[in-house]
Amino acid sequence: MSERDPLDELLHELKSPEPPAGMDQRMVEAYRSSFPPSNLRPHAGWQFWEMRVSVPVPVLLAVAIVVAVLFWYRSSPAPSAAPGTTGIVTSLNSTGFQPLPNGEARIVTVKGASQ
């Protein structure tokens, strides 16, 4: 078997100094100054108000464009029938229903529907 290197034994004779007295206390104080103690924070719902969401800029832009288009579409006035023209209604009454030949449409005016 390989012989143990005396250098290894010598290296492990190295002793390290203990951390200085007071280091722990200074560490705790530094931590407390960075992070307020948790018992000072309101527990209920705290995490909810601290939640963050990161959104990539292209996604944010795409959402903004979609919202803008929807807003513009909703805010534009609906086309209304020109004044003086007669309205066109669809009769929902099935009385006297007669199927039309395939593809043929029949327009019934308001006047015709009321008769």
Binding site: L7, E9, L10, L14, P17, P19, M23, D24, M27, S38
Partner: protein
């Protein structure tokens, strides 16, 4: 174990002092020892330790699947140590600081041999020094040392080999005495 440490870290980042203290007490000696042997100064080692643990709770996310928390902490400590070394100046000035620190440490270091080993390690170039400390004293694997230092395993092996060659020369009198002692 690592997952537990990761959850402790998350708690500490939310202000959980107990979780922070659990992590601190578990790793402070290793970080302090590393910082001390790298800088040769107890005061600087304390500064590095403090900065390291504050960076731990303020810093980027720790992934327990990629590294042990201790290795991750050494990565932070290393970054701070090298910043201190840059501030403290050239390597020669660093050695002077080591000599001064050695005077103050006489009471703490019980054996002359230990002191000679420490001085020999302190005289190594910084990259070799950190490799030997992390590998020999903090018992990190070659892969972990490579991760901490941002080098590849081959480079770490080369640094360790050069460090051991230098230490063998520097500690020649002690080694000879040890060999003679074991032969007689």
């Amino acid at each position: 174990m690592q997952v537990n440490q990761a959850s402790l870290l998350e708690e500490a980042r939310r202000g959980g002092e107990e979780a922070f203290l659990a992590l601190y007490s578990q790793h402070r000696n290793a970080v302090f020892r590393f910082a001390f042997h790298m800088t040769g100064s107890i005061a600087t080692a304390e500064d590095v330790t403090q900065e390291c643990f504050l960076a731990m709770v303020r810093g980027s996310a720790f992934d327990p699947r990629k590294a042990r928390l201790q290795a991750w902490l050494f990565g932070i400590a290393r970054h701070i140590v090298f910043r201190h070394l840059r501030i403290s100046g050239r390597e020669s000035e660093e050695l002077e600081e080591t000599a001064t620190a050695a005077d103050a440490l006489d009471e703490l270091l019980s054996a002359e041999r230990s002191e000679m080993v420490r001085q020999a390690i302190a005289s190594l170039p910084a990259l070799q020094r950190e490799a030997i400390i992390l590998f020999e004293y903090d018992e990190l694997s070659l892969e972990e040392v490579a991760t901490v230092t941002g080098a590849d395993v081959g480079a770490i092996k080369a640094r360790l080999r050069r460090a051991r060659e230098s230490l063998r020369k520097l500690l020649e009198p002690l080694l000879r005495h040890k060999t003679e002692g074991s032969c007689s």
